[in-house]
């Protein structure tokens, strides 16, 4: 495309299929303890 550079393709909908396993980290344990930042975590489902 001439006018658009896509930094990240649409990925959210794809996660519906394999998501919800719950093996990911609990967000508050990492560092914050006062502010919820779920979006900075990583998925741990490698299947």
């Amino acid at each position: 495309m001439k006018h658009v550079k896509t930094i990240n393709p649409a990925t959210l909908k794809d996660t519906v299929k394999k998501g919800g396993c719950g093996e990911c980290q609990t967000s508050c344990q990492s560092a914050c303890k006062t502010s919820c930042t779920v979006g900075n975590q990583s998925c741990e489902n490698n299947n």
């Binding site: 495309m1 996660t15 998501g19 344990q29 560092a31």
Partner: protein
């Protein structure tokens, strides 16, 4: 839903419901702004004084291409999913163990009120700690990874018990096919080589509390006899970070109204060689002199921008560092279920007091109406669990139409309760800062991808 903004010379467009992120030129940016309310001809006539027609048409075609690829103006189809997801039987997979309701510092902003959580001073016994391990094993279903955070007060004031709980956990994880990930949060005052070696052997993560510059740290983090704590801890923190190869730890600070120039504190920590840094806004009642105010926001936004630019400048050099709130995993981030349901407090994540009571999270400890049970009897208040499980971005009116909902997942419920008395409300100042951080985090990724 679209969120578009300009930062560091980039025009950034987020398609909220798909998670797609685009960097666009000025024409696309202007067209997207009016795209939904206008037809093709109207868009051309509205912009023909600014751009040539052929270019506008070209842009309209590219936008249509993105729409067809489901990367722009996508619909929110997730609300039914969360209802189904909430029908599940949740498991407990993380505990915050309040190993000591006591502290050797008297930090002004501590939500535990100098470690005591509105209650009495107490240390967790090994017996309670072992029961907590048994409780989480019993309630974690088939989940393998279990997180245990040693929290306080100051956990090093009860470190012998920490060691014994870890030993017991290691023994039990083999029997029950679990993997415990231990973390510890400490102010560092009692840190010594023996403790350091134990932490490095057993702790998946360690959070080292320090606010940044000496004068900033010492104003808010005094000892009990009102002296500064910086000189007591700084060399030990530098040593610990090095001994962990600058990984799997955070130096974690709090900024307040007294240091709205907090980027200087982040950079101070970076200058000392720390590579994993988290400096976060204080959460405080309005009547506290150190509480952040709405009028601080322009300065705080400026500071976040300044920090983001500095990180881009340092990227890939020996002076680079990681800032916790600018971490965003665009490609392999959490699934939509996780993003919708939030931090897991009250369901997957519970806090355990020194005497074994269970609360939805560390910030609810000491609030009687949220006492959920104890390590002997388990959860006796299923209604509290259900109240937390029912919370999602779709039950919070302000979140439903917010572009940031899939990044913050509705924010911290403890903050909502603290400021509005309602889990389904929002802590507005926190939301404003959160949104700015997400914009900066995405701008950093976008800028680095242009290089």
């Amino acid at each position: 839903m679209i969120h578009q903004y300009k930062n560091n010379g980039l025009n950034i467009v987020i398609d909220v419901n798909s998670g797609a992120i685009h960097v666009v030129d000025d024409i696309v940016y202007d067209v997207i702004e009016i795209y939904e309310e206008n037809d093709r001809d109207t868009i051309i006539s509205k912009l023909e004084n600014k751009y040539v027609n052929e270019e506008i048409i070209e842009v309209l075609d590219e936008i249509q291409e993105l729409i067809d690829a489901k990367q722009l103006f996508t619909a929110d189809e997730y609300e039914p999913l969360i209802k189904a997801f909430n029908q599940r039987q949740p498991v407990v997979k993380a505990l915050c163990l309040h190993i000591a309701h006591d502290c050797n510092l008297g930090c002004m902003y501590c939500f535990a009120e100098e470690g005591e959580y509105h209650g009495r001073r107490a240390l967790m016994s090994l017996e309670v700690g072992m029961k907590a391990i048994d409780f989480v094993i019993k309630n974690s279903g088939s989940r393998k990874n279990i997180e245990i955070d040693f929290f306080g007060g100051e956990p090093l004031m009860n470190f012998d018990v920490v060691k014994e709980i870890v030993r017991y956990g290691r023994e039990q994880e083999k029997i029950h096919n679990k993997l415990f990930r231990f973390t510890i949060t400490t102010n560092g005052v009692l840190l010594d080589d023996e403790i350091k070696d134990f932490i490095n052997k057993e702790m998946n993560n360690v959070v080292l509390s320090i606010d940044g510059r000496k004068e900033v740290n010492d104003k808010m983090r005094p000892t009990r006899n009102k002296k500064g704590s910086y000189d007591l801890i700084i060399d030990k923190f530098i040593d610990l970070a090095e001994s962990r190869n600058q990984d799997k730890y955070y130096v974690r600070g709090t900024f307040t109204h007294h240091n709205t120039d907090f980027s200087e504190d982040v950079l101070h920590l970076a200058e000392l060689g720390f590579k994993q840094i988290s400096v976060e806004p204080v959460v405080a009642e309005d009547n506290e002199d150190y509480a952040l105010k709405i009028s601080d926001l322009p300065k705080l936004y400026e500071e976040y921008d300044k920090l983001a630019l500095e990180m881009i400048k340092r990227h890939g050099t020996e002076n680079d560092f990681n800032f916790f709130h600018y971490m965003v995993d665009l490609k392999q981030g959490p699934c939509v279920y996780k993003r919708l349901s939030g931090c897991g407090s009250g369901t997957e994540y519970l806090a355990v007091t020194p005497w074994g009571d269970l609360y939805p999270c560390h910030q609810f400890v000491g609030i009687d109406e949220y006492l959920m049970g104890n390590v002997d009897d388990g959860i006796t208040r299923d209604d509290i669990k259900e109240e937390f499980m029912g919370c999602s971005v779709y039950t919070k009116e302000k979140c439903k139409n917010c572009w940031a909902k899939f990044y913050c997942s509705g924010g911290c419920v403890a903050n909502s309760y603290k400021f509005k008395g309602d889990l389904n409300e929002t802590y507005d100042l926190g939301c404003d800062l959160q949104k700015k951080r997400i914009e900066c985090a995405i701008m950093i990724k976008s800028s680095l991808s242009q290089i």
